[in-house]
């Protein structure tokens, strides 16, 4: 009974729980990556007790991998030695952690997965509880298998209607970020629902919980339904049976209703993720880099949109266009279907998998005075390099249209031509 988060926590606790309660719950998986694992190892060593269940630990190298500098290399070395020492089986270095967590079947409806990464909220797309924590708590969870949670209040975002042609989940989510503001969901579980979400395929759904972090949410959730179960059965090795479930007689703190049919392509402008404008207000602004990547928008379908739009064309010669597939699985599929060749022929640089340029460590760092249009989820000052650079956020289609012109460009005209 209750909101989706109350349902998930009640199932885990074995009794009905309500917003406001503090619980100590078993976690199904504990995720960390090259940036956050070293401190977790330190906490673990200080506690001085053994790992409770090695099978629940999942480690990734993705944030600065392969190592772009000695500091990153030292981190990787430390982590790899730890994996060897503890004989940990779930160790990945071929993609962005959150994408790999989903692809490898660690995320299932009702699961509780904590991660030392603020975008661990992503797992809510499959009806799981995912939340980001500090490294110390990860070390604690390795030893105890448990974590404390305060059951949050819920804001329901009800999305109705159908998007216009050329408008994607990313545009809708940017619109929501602009409307709610950066702290509009602080401490809250943000539940995304309504007929628009119900009809949405998994790769688009993922964008919403992923970016619930940008409005401060503790978690972003979508009820598990047929789409979820079908995705799990066909696209992941997760073992069923899976149960579809959603909120039951929920009491929401607030319900926000949005008719998505009114939304046009959106851009989050420098320097805040809630500085969101309809594309036409910034159309024509020049960019030096277009970056298609990250846990938000570098799935196969995103790359397919870009490749379809760039097929047989050339990107602007003065613009660096970089594509970083989110995972090896995505990369292989794009390669087998000829998308990588299309992108390369159009003049894009296709990099290895991982977080790439997202945190300004490697793979597309910006110089002072430069502006990038990207498919990422955040645009903090200096996120992609120089503190004097600017990051604009948009959908993959907008990124592709912009790649061709070197200026922020509405994808809708181009999509029509491409699809004729």
């Amino acid at each position: 009974m209750g909101t989706l988060i109350e349902e998930i926590f009640s199932r885990k606790a074995g009794r009905p729980v309500q917003a406001g309660e503090i619980l100590l719950l078993d976690v199904d998986y504990i995720m960390s990556h090259d940036n956050t694992t070293p401190l977790a190892i330190k906490a673990f060593r200080e506690i001085g007790k053994p790992i409770l269940d090695k099978n629940r630990i999942v480690l990734h190298l993705d944030h600065a991998y392969p190592a772009p500098n000695v500091l990153a290399a030292e981190n990787h070395k430390k982590i790899i030695e730890f994996v060897g020492e503890q004989e940990l089986a779930h160790f990945f270095k071929q993609g962005v952690c959150h994408q790999v967590m989903i692809e490898e079947g660690f995320i299932t409806p009702g699961a509780i997965v904590i991660g030392a990464d603020s975008h661990s909220n992503t797992y809510g797309a499959l009806g799981a509880f995912g939340a980001g924590l500090g490294s110390t708590e990860i070390g604690v969870a390795w030893v105890t298998g448990k974590c404390w949670f305060k059951v949050p209040e819920t804001i329901r975002i009800k999305l109705t209607g159908k998007t216009q042609y050329g408008v994607y989940a990313k545009d809708v989510m940017l619109y929501i970020a602009g409307m709610m503001g950066m702290d509009g969901g602080t401490y809250r579980s943000v539940e995304f629902g309504g007929e628009y979400i119900e009809r949405l395929p998994m790769h688009e759904r993922i964008v919403f919980p992923n970016m619930s972090t940008e409005i401060g949410a503790k978690c972003g959730l979508i009820a598990a339904d047929e789409v979820t179960i079908n995705f799990l059965e066909t696209a992941t090795p997760a073992k069923g049976p899976f149960e579809a479930f959603g909120p039951v007689n929920p009491r929401y703190e607030r319900v926000v209703e949005i008719d998505v049919s009114t939304i046009t392509p959106q851009i989050a402008c420098h320097p805040d993720v809630d500085n969101v404008k309809p594309l036409e207000q910034v159309e024509g602004l020049s960019v030096q880099e277009v970056y298609i990547g990250t846990c938000t928008n570098a799935r196969y379908e995103d790359i397919e949109i870009v490749a379809n739009m760039l097929k047989g064309k050339k990107v602007n010669p003065l613009t660096r266009v970089i594509v970083t597939p989110a995972s090896a699985q995505i990369y292989k599929k794009a390669m087998n279907n000829g998308l990588i060749e299309i992108l390369m022929d159009a003049g894009c640089t296709v990099t290895g998998t991982g977080c790439g340029a997202c945190i300004g460590r490697h793979g597309g760092i910006l110089a002072a005075g430069e502006r990038a249009l990207t498919t990422m989820n955040r645009n903090f000052i200096g996120r992609m390099g120089s503190p004097l650079s600017e990051v604009y956020l948009a959908s993959p289609a907008t990124a592709a249209a912009t790649a061709l012109t070197g200026r922020i460009t509405d994808p809708r005209g181009l999509l029509e031509i491409t699809n004729k």
């Binding site: 330190k42 980001g132 924590l133 604690v140 702290d183 401060g216």
Partner: protein, 165 residues
């Protein structure tokens, strides 16, 4: 005397401790540079038991634990703010830095006031203007973690189940 040190809204983790000092996690080392860009006199003059009074969304920004560690290292007794950024809130609790939510106190306390805080009951008494405020009492488990000096220390001598027992 427990002096109040006041700070503004949306104080981010870089303002608490700039990223360039995050090369150590030694609390005393970090404490030397805590608030160095926005209130350099703090690190020099803070006394054990002083109280940090902050604005809304205290500790926003990065999820790094250096920020609460630096404040705890300065031997401040606790933070009082109307609200905290989510990960800062957890990190502070887990490293054993008590944090109270009390908008009334924040609105009324000025820098330098002598402020007495009872962590167990949430009572805050301003000895300077003799006003009393009530924060929500901290849950028992938070006090247990604070008493042990953080969750890591707590686990050296306890089982995790003891937290909510």
């Amino acid at each position: 005397m427990s002096k109040a040190w006041t700070f503004g809204e949306n104080l981010n983790t870089d303002e608490i401790i700039p990223g360039r000092f995050n090369i150590t996690i030694d609390p005393l080392e970090l404490a030397k540079n805590v608030f160095c860009e926005i209130k350099p006199e703090y690190a020099k003059n803070v006394q054990p038991g002083d109280v940090i009074v902050g604005g809304q969304n205290f500790g926003c920004g990065s999820s790094r634990e250096h920020a609460p560690i630096a404040i705890k290292g300065s031997q401040a007794k606790c933070i009082i703010a109307p609200s905290y950024a989510r990960i800062f809130f957890r990190n502070a609790i887990n490293i054993g830095l008590p944090i109270l939510e009390c908008p009334e106190a924040v609105a009324d306390i000025t820098e330098g006031d002598d402020v007495d805080v009872n962590l167990a009951t949430g009572e805050i008494f301003n000895r300077t203007n003799r006003h009393q405020y009530q924060a929500r009492a901290l849950p028992d488990f938070v006090l247990k973690i604070a008493e042990a000096g953080g969750i890591v220390n707590f686990l050296k001598t306890h089982d995790i189940q003891d937290l909510l027992a």
